[in-house]
């Protein structure tokens, strides 16, 4: 079952998570762990891998990699672990990461709206959730109060 979406459509997933046990695995279209990326930076950049970040990742460590990789996946070990929201905003707003940010792990539909606002581009929904249904959950609030990645100004400046 295909469960990757962006805010408009169901997508084909061209990426795969690298099985680190298998050293012969190809790096092509692979999402590698943060540690692997730090230890094999040149190969990872050359192969244009994706990087998987756990919520405790220190973004500063990945600064050099971020300009060269096309995808960062942020893991939600549990949907109630909200660190990924800050990481996504920092990646886009502070580190000027221009690639794709993907939410993976315990990604449920009621959090999609907040994730979109924080700069996520794609969402690998938790198994069993309907991707079609999930597409309806990106527009919960038309005009939220805060600035975030999706709104460069808070409501009080947008209204003016």
């Amino acid at each position: 079952m295909q469960n990757l979406i962006n805010q408009n459509a169901i997508l084909n997933d061209e990426w795969h998570l690298l099985d680190s046990a298998d050293e012969a695995s190809s790096l092509v279209n692979a999402i590698v762990s943060g540690d692997f990326a730090l230890n094999n930076a040149e190969a990872v950049m050359a192969a244009k891998c994706g990087i998987l970040l756990t919520p405790d990742a220190q973004l500063e460590d990945y600064k050099a990699l971020l300009s060269a990789v096309p995808l960062v996946a942020i893991e939600f070990p549990a949907f109630a672990d909200g660190r990924g929201y800050s990481l996504a905003r920092l990646l886009k707003e502070r580190y000027q990461f221009e690639g794709e940010i993907r939410a993976i792990g315990d990604v449920l539909i009621d959090q999609l709206f907040f994730m979109k606002r924080c700069g996520f581009d794609t969402y690998a929904l938790k198994d069993g959730l309907s991707a079609e249904k999930a597409l309806n959950y990106f527009q919960t609030f038309q005009d939220p109060y805060q600035m975030a990645y999706d709104k460069k100004d808070p409501l009080f400046r947008r209204k003016a």
């Binding site: 909200g82 929201y85 800050s86 009621d110 994730m115």
Partner: protein, 553 residues
């Protein structure tokens, strides 16, 4: 008070639709218990011992009479005819049916109310001084800043899943702190710098619960327009670095302690450097727009003394008692601030009926510009009553059970719902409050004792603020039996302190006698005019401990 514009109303309406749909999915089995839990919590819905409990937000404790009437209607229609004022100035209903909660939210939205973020690991209702805008000694009215924080915190996309709940309080009074500001995750004190510019002293890391701590000053002066960017920086540092492995160590106070105040402040500042002067910076237009909602009502020009009032006070001792206790000086000549106490013998502290809610709304319309306030000490306030109306207000309040003249006295207790309602509680708290109210019902004695904060919590979560009561009582479970631990010396005011545990805990039946012994030590030791807390601080813990644990002969 703040009135919604179309944007505010749409956000609340969209929330109603969202929660209705989530409830439907839950009832249809599409959302698991675990997945629905944070969604319902962020809408103030707990599953309690007997039924769900719905907590309605009362931003900084301010309500219009229409809103209060709506609460009365909800209590009557969806509940068992009563409601409860919480220590975050919110209103709780103990018996709604889960399937009807979306309808309740729709009713609330029709009067610009909601239950957004009244629970869950997110930014909760911002609280402030219940006498804001009407009391002498205030720098500026703190409520516009609370409203600015309310809007910023409502559905903040980055901070919906924090390590733990997050509470903010704002105080603007120069000498008093009625909002327990220093016992909050963030306490904001509005100040002026030497150049006379308005800003904030920001304190972080206060809180109750298992590890009660008074907040530390992290920013002595933050200019007015930088409020939200600085809060963003604090929350981001907390969201990324707060502990998530142990819910008892997840509040920001633990992070501040672990990092050290200076290191924490430096980290926030470093984060803030990226945000300061960005689009999150408040504009003069926005500050003035919000302030425009909190202009003083059209007061009449009155004398500061009223002959009718003076005559009533001379003639009627019961009225004079009430006036002396439950009425506070207003900054506008000829007006007074009236507290409607919800601490009557036989009623759980902070509870009131649908009829009382309707009466409160009527009193507000007739005597106080249609506004009413809820307090963290679980009472209601009419903030703008003419001196010439006080006698009428007293009579009506008395007839409706609002006029027990015990504001600030021993029996004006703070008390959580405890084991009678709450699924988290280790012990009941309401029966202890009742036993104490019964034992100490002699008003002359209570008045002689003077100001004493007695706070009761049914468990370590400290919803009854036991740590910061001059006398604190904590319910504990010992092998399935309920016991009560007593602490002395807490304070929620500008001299905030955490109480010290007296010793081994007591059975419920012994509690009235234990409190009586503590009070006896105070009465014997006090110097003329000294409050309980002052005497305790002077004579120390020992005389109380010795008396209470003395072997009887």
């Amino acid at each position: 008070m703040y009135k919604y514009d179309n944007y505010d109303q749409r956000i609340v309406d969209e929330r109603v639709a969202q929660f209705r749909e989530q409830t439907e999915r839950y009832l249809a089995g599409e959302l698991t218990e675990e997945q629905f839990l944070p969604l319902r919590l962020q809408n103030g819905l707990y599953v309690q011992r007997y039924a769900p409990m719905l907590r309605v937000a009362v931003p900084y404790g301010l309500m219009s009479s229409d809103q209060v009437r709506k609460l009365a209607h909800i209590a009557r229609t969806y509940d068992k005819g009563y409601a409860h004022i919480s220590t975050r100035t919110n209103v709780q209903f103990n018996w709604p049916e889960l399937a009807r909660v979306p309808d309740i939210l729709e009713e609330l939205a029709s009067v610009q109310m909601h239950a957004i973020q009244t629970s869950g690991n997110c930014i909760r209702n911002t609280t402030t001084d219940q006498y804001a805008g009407v009391v002498d000694g205030e720098l500026v009215d703190p409520r516009p800043y609370c409203e600015i924080i309310r809007q910023w915190s409502t559905f903040h996309p980055e901070f919906a899943f924090l390590p733990r709940k997050f509470k903010i309080a704002v105080n603007s009074h120069e000498d008093d702190d009625r909002a327990a500001t220093l016992l909050h995750d963030v306490g904001i004190k509005i100040v002026r710098n030497k150049a006379g510019e308005l800003g904030y002293a920001v304190y972080v890391g206060g809180g109750l619960g298992r590890t009660p701590i008074v907040a530390s000053l992290v920013k002595p002066f933050l200019p007015e327009k930088h409020l939200l960017t600085y809060l963003d920086a604090i929350l981001r540092v907390y969201n990324l670095n707060g502990r998530r492995d142990n819910k008892y160590k997840a509040r920001i106070k633990i992070l501040v302690k672990a990092m050290g105040v200076e290191a924490f402040a430096a980290k926030v500042d470093e984060e803030w450097q990226h945000l300061v002067d960005g689009p999150g910076t408040l504009t003069d237009e926005e500050i003035n727009r919000i302030k425009g909602h909190f202009t003083p009502p059209t007061y009449e020009k009155l004398e500061s003394e009223n002959a009718e009032l003076i005559a009533h006070l001379a003639e009627n001792k019961a009225f004079a008692n009430w006036y002396g206790r439950n009425v506070v000086k207003h900054k506008q000549p000829g007006y007074a601030i009236v507290t409607l106490t919800l601490k009557k013998l036989g009623t759980p502290p902070g509870d009131l009926t649908d009829k009382q809610l309707d009466v409160a709304a009527d009193l507000a319309d007739q005597y106080s510009f249609g506004e009413i306030r809820s307090t963290h000490e679980q009472n209601l306030v009419l903030a703008d009553v003419k001196l010439s109306d006080l006698f009428d207000v007293w009579q009506k309040a008395k007839a409706n059970g609002f006029a027990t003249p015990n504001l600030g006295l021993l029996t004006d207790m703070i008390c959580c719902p405890g084991g009678d309602f709450c699924a988290l509680a280790n012990a009941k708290s309401i029966p202890v409050a009742e036993a104490l109210q019964e034992k100490f019902d002699d008003l002359d004695y209570l008045h002689d004792l003077g100001e004493i904060d007695l706070n009761i919590s049914g468990c370590m979560n400290a919803c009854g603020h036991h740590h910061i009561g001059h006398i604190g009582i904590l319910g504990v479970d010992k092998k399935g039996e309920e016991f009560y631990q007593v602490s002395l010396g807490g304070s929620s005011s500008t001299d905030a302190s955490v109480g010290k545990i007296l010793g081994p805990s007591f059975a419920r039946v012994d509690m009235p006698n234990v409190i009586e012994k503590i009070l006896a030590v105070y009465v014997e030791s006090r110097i003329e005019g000294e409050r309980f807390i002052d005497t305790y601080r002077r004579v120390g813990h020992t005389p109380f401990k010795e008396r209470v644990y003395a072997k009887s002969n």
